[in-house]
């Protein structure tokens, strides 16, 4: 059986391990962290995860879907909080019953590691730092952090799941024809928590709470332990200008998010802002995703994206599923499968990266605009009556497995139809009004009988 070396034992690395364990391959996973199942506090970014169809389907392929989906909290709509702290309005995500699942990163990661380790051909090496991959020699260079010993490990396939700052990817940067870009957005984020109130959720749990305030935004997602993970997104210059000390931070929250402010509490807000600096958000695109006969980039190592479409994890999980299907198709011929993967998958990853940037604007502001609301309602109505013919953009991304690039093609087709329909309606209106004005009803009659 071939041997796969996986750099990184985070969400995508652990899921890849499950996929290859199921194939019966020898699997070795190298993770810089301690075994997270033994840690009190796990370092690294969080932002609560929203599991949707692509992620579920990928988990389903290794038999984990129901177990994991039932460990989260279902969210059926956005609940938009007004600035008065009292009124809000609801925007369903899709048709009744359609939902995404708020899920805890750590819990999910732990389940998958345990699941993969059930196979005796799978081995996790914790506290092992991957420093580079050698494409020609098919080697992964790994340092055991307990002994500082460097190991050069040979494998048939090397999969980089080592995140946005991937060491594997970095070691490929000088290869000819490797296109790459990383772009920080002007927004950063700080994460807070709302505790339970009288042993129950302090806010309605089965919604995605949203406080859009133009250039900055607060969100809150429920956890199973009845807490909420709350995240503020704002430009770094806003953090600097308006949240520079205890008093200014409290004033800011009180002014713009009065209801959330009360639930968060002064001391928690102050403590968090003193402990944490705003974290950066990064958009990474590269092409190809596969190299030579043995290296594949997946997850954030291939396409770190801003979190505003809730697709980062889902896209990373889908990478595993797509590659697994391609390996089936090419009967485990690794070089052919790698070439086909880049050929098919890169454009989809570029598309979701772009959509995530687009939704960055939507979450900030659009949700409050009339035109956006009308289109959203129109799309949902159309979808209700023509469920296969007309699927809203958000639903295609979230509730289907239509390849991301096809999603955008379909959206353009919808826009085109709407635009043509509008033109026809305008034309007919003008003709009708014109006819009425010159009081020649005969004209109307003629036109409609002829057409």
């Amino acid at each position: 059986m071939p041997k796969v070396l996986i750099a990184g034992g985070g969400l995508v690395g652990a899921l890849n391990a499950c996929f290859f364990a199921n194939r019966g391959w020898d699997v070795e996973v190298f993770d810089i962290r301690m075994d997270i199942r033994k840690m009190e506090h796990v370092p690294g970014r969080s932002i609560n995860l929203a599991l949707s169809q692509r992620g579920k389907a990928s988990l389903d392929a290794v038999g984990l879907k129901d177990y994991i989906a039932n460990s989260g909290v279902k969210m059926f709509s956005r609940l938009v909080h007004d600035i008065d702290g009292k009124t809000f309005h609801r925007q369903p995500y899709g048709q009744p019953g359609e939902h995404i699942v708020s899920i805890n990163r750590r819990h999910l990661n732990e389940i998958m590691i345990t699941e993969a380790e059930k196979f005796n051909k799978v081995k996790f090496y914790f506290e092992h730092k991957v420093i580079k991959a050698d494409c020609k020699k098919k080697e992964l260079h790994v340092i055991d952090l307990n002994t500082d010993q460097l190991y050069k490990i040979k494998g048939d396939l090397i999969i980089a799941c080592d995140g946005a700052h991937s060491a594997v990817r970095r070691s490929l940067m000088a290869l000819p024809h490797f296109n790459y870009s990383q772009e920080y957005i002007e927004h950063g984020y700080v994460e807070l928590n709302i505790l339970p109130k009288n042993d129950d959720y302090a806010l309605e749990p089965n919604v995605f709470h949203l406080w859009p305030r133009g250039d900055f935004t607060l969100i809150a997602l429920a956890n199973r332990d009845k807490t909420f993970t709350v995240t503020i997104f704002a430009p770094f210059k806003i953090f600097k200008k308006y949240m520079y000390d205890d008093k200014s931070v409290l004033n800011f929250f009180q002014k713009y998010f009065p209801d959330a402010y009360k639930l968060l509490g002064d001391s928690h807000i102050i403590e968090t802002f003193n402990r944490m600096k705003p974290q950066t958000l990064l958009n990474i695109k590269c092409s190809p995703h596969s190299f030579g006969d043995c290296i594949l980039l997946t997850g954030d190592a291939a396409h770190a994206m801003v979190p505003f479409y809730g697709q980062g994890m889902n896209c990373g999980f889908e990478d595993c599923l797509v590659f697994s299907k391609i390996l089936d198709e090419f009967k485990d011929d690794i070089p052919k499968a790698l070439a086909a993967y880049s050929e098919r998958r890169v454009k989809d990853c570029h598309t979701i990266n772009n959509l995530a940037m687009y939704n960055y604007n939507e979450l900030k502001d659009l949700v409050n605009r009339m035109g956006y609301k009308i289109r959203k309602n129109f799309d949902l109505k159309m979808n209700k009556y023509f469920p296969n013919f007309w699927i809203p953009l958000y639903s295609m991304v979230t509730f289907t497995q239509i390849p991301y690039s096809k999603v955008v093609e379909k959206r353009e087709w919808q826009n085109n139809i709407i635009s043509k329909t509008q033109n026809i309606i305008s034309l007919l209106s003008i003709i009708t009004i014109g006819a009425i004005i010159i009081n020649k009803k005969e004209i109307i009659k003629n036109i409609f009988t002829k057409s």
Copy 2:
């Protein structure tokens, strides 16, 4: 005196060494290669260099301009070769006398190393490989290739001049807010030579020879030894499809560049294509160019560009001059100078990278199009009569030191004027023709007497 560590002793590294030697700083330069003055053949890319105003001004600041400019061959115009191998047309670069200088990379590099070494506070370390820079500790990590010993060298300022695949830049990739992109174009290049004929140049020396053939192009630049450096640029897929063996390569040259083909000779073409694979061309942009209190990226490490505007070296040299002036302005306060440099210089470097991509299309094809020729002639005529008011785009880039970003602003202003003038002329024509048609000459009289 402060100490500057320079990664890379190529063109920009050696010029930086001259600048800091002139300031009286301690200078240490680390270069992976042997001392090129002792080598028979220097590895690495060439493509003959075209020295223009920005490069000259920078060399002038360290007293090298005349010496170096006189070591090259002046080029006053493009000479475009038709496909029949017999006819050609001439496109002057600017006003009579305005020229660029074809120059040999190695010769230029050697002069500058020797010049810098005249100062006893300057030390070149050859066969020393820079592997990373540590921003916090102000250290450069360097391996002596003769002993494999790693040195961590402290300095007050670290300047990366280690080229498109800069190790210094690579070690900064994970810093927050460092935006970066690298993009390979679909064209590659192969370099050949035309030898002297009867002890003289085989082609006219004081022009830039150009064989534009749509998607692929041949160029030739004269050297002082009466040879020509010849470069073919073509998409990799064209190389693969039409230049895959001895016979196909010769056929290709014979068909598309018949006059150059004769001068190159069968055996030289075959030998070159057997020895060399087509080389890649790369566009790199990043922002910022300076980091913390001590690191600066210059030259290709900051902005590798495709060679189609002949500005890669000139821009790298101008980096040295711009930073030197900023150090003067801030009285050698390094952190302030670094911050000011990124603030001012990044947009200019992004602009010339974009212009180089734009000229990529111009060289390929545009030079043969009527609209392009008319505009080129118009610009030169306008420039002749209004030399300060109207400078053509190419002349602003090549014969002035107007910051690149300002060059593009001025070009947009010119386009605007042309467009408005065209509108006015069109309007007047329509009115005149209309008036003639309806045979009311009185109208024309009225309009022109009123206006």
